[in-house]
């Protein structure tokens, strides 16, 4: 049984690797402060096992430019960082290729680093696929992400609404219960309680379950009074 299952999965995997391509994942957008470091992550999904010949390459295209330049390449087990371009001495490879992680670290950001970074990964024999881009935005002051304040205001108001409704129903429930317990203490002992025929009527219609509950609550209240 197990061998049949294993055989089926191997066959399916080999079929799947023929029809699907490699998929590269990066973030969509990264926001960073001037002078700080930013880690651009890149990973991929492939039906094949991670080959020792896996390659990662990063390209940088400044805002407004038409073409990009290559700034990083990992291949044949060695990483080659930019030593001539705008990122010399600022680029570091912090990924783990055997774990399918091809992330790079850019240090000491400047406004001129605004642009699009494209990561391309190849896992032989799985080499067909789209590359993925991440947009880097460098700010003096990091702005609030879109929708954070919106979501916070909506959440707070709706939460308050639910809280008010819950408190309203709780008060109604508690007032109804208080009528019962006061009538019980008046009937059982000469305790403090409100006079009125309403309590006697409520007592008359109470069924045994509610009487038990009210009695247990009365006992709890008496024990609390004794403790005090």
């Amino acid at each position: 049984m197990l061998s049949v299952l294993a055989l089926t999965s191997v066959v399916l995997l080999s079929i799947a690797s023929q029809i699907t391509a490699i998929v590269v994942y990066t973030s969509w957008e990264r926001h960073a402060l001037v002078g700080s470091d930013v880690r651009l992550s890149c990973s991929f999904f492939s039906w094949h096992w991670t080959s020792p010949d896996v390659t990662f390459s990063w390209q940088y295209r400044p805002d407004g430019a038409k073409e990009g330049i290559s700034i990083f390449h990992y291949g044949g087990g060695a990483a080659y960082v930019d030593n001539k371009g705008p990122f010399r001495d600022r680029l570091e490879f912090v990924g783990n290729p055997s774990r399918r992680d091809g992330s790079i670290l850019i240090k000491n950001l400047d406004f001129s680093d605004n642009g699009t970074f494209t990561c391309d990964a190849k896992n032989p024999p799985d080499i067909v696929g789209h590359s993925s881009s991440v947009r880097l935005l460098v700010f003096e002051k990091v702005p609030v992400q879109a929708g954070v304040i919106t979501g916070a205001i909506i959440g707070v108001v709706l939460g308050l609404l639910i809280l008010v409704v819950a408190i309203y129903y709780l008060m109604r429930f508690l007032v109804a219960r208080r009528v019962f317990s006061l009538s019980m203490s008046k009937h059982g002992k000469k305790g403090k309680g409100k006079e009125g025929s309403q309590q006697k009527q409520a007592l008359a219609v109470a069924d045994p379950v509610k009487l038990k509950a009210a009695a247990s609550e009365k006992k709890k209240q008496e024990s609390r009074r004794e403790k005090k």
Partner: protein
């Protein structure tokens, strides 16, 4: 009685539709060619459209939240109205409906005021206001009137 009921329902539905359009249409301001605000804005760079979400202003997100809340509260008040229409005792007032409707009108008023005061900061001052902005300001008195009608309205048999 039936005529008043129908008129109230029509007014409430009109409010709801106006609020929906004003919140969802991205046309609070216009520069003659393209509409922008409340959700995204597009600029032209070398003949290519570059659209991005409006994440640059805190007050704009507050306006978004207030408009969404106003729409939600108007919807909730309509549902409450339909419920209370069948469950209310004779001579009772549509209290919860009125409360939610008035709250919706307050939210839309706050949103419209914040946008009117702060919008010259972003974009050009020569840009005209779009139809969604006009609808938002229109929604405020309509929802307020609708709320007051619910305060005064009593259920008769």
């Amino acid at each position: 009685m039936l005529a008043i009921l129908l008129a109230t329902i029509v007014l409430h539905l009109t409010d709801l539709i106006i609020l929906f359009i004003s919140t969802c249409a991205n046309a609070w301001r216009t520069d003659g060619v393209t509409n922008y605000h409340l959700w995204y804005g597009c600029t032209q760079k070398n003949g290519v459209d570059d659209c991005s979400g409006t994440s640059d202003a805190d007050w704009l997100q507050a306006v978004q939240a207030l408009m969404i809340l106003a729409t939600i509260f108007c919807l909730i008040s309509f549902i409450f109205f339909l419920c209370q229409l069948f469950t209310l005792v004779k001579g009772g007032r549509f209290f919860f409906t009125a409360v939610f409707q008035v709250l919706a009108s307050l939210f839309v008023m706050s949103g419209a005021i914040i946008y009117t005061v702060m919008s010259p900061e972003l974009k050009n001052e020569n840009d005209a206001y779009g139809y969604a902005f006009v609808l938002a300001w229109l929604a405020f008195p309509l929802t307020l009137i609708s709320g007051f009608i619910y305060i005064v309205l009593r259920k008769k048999e």
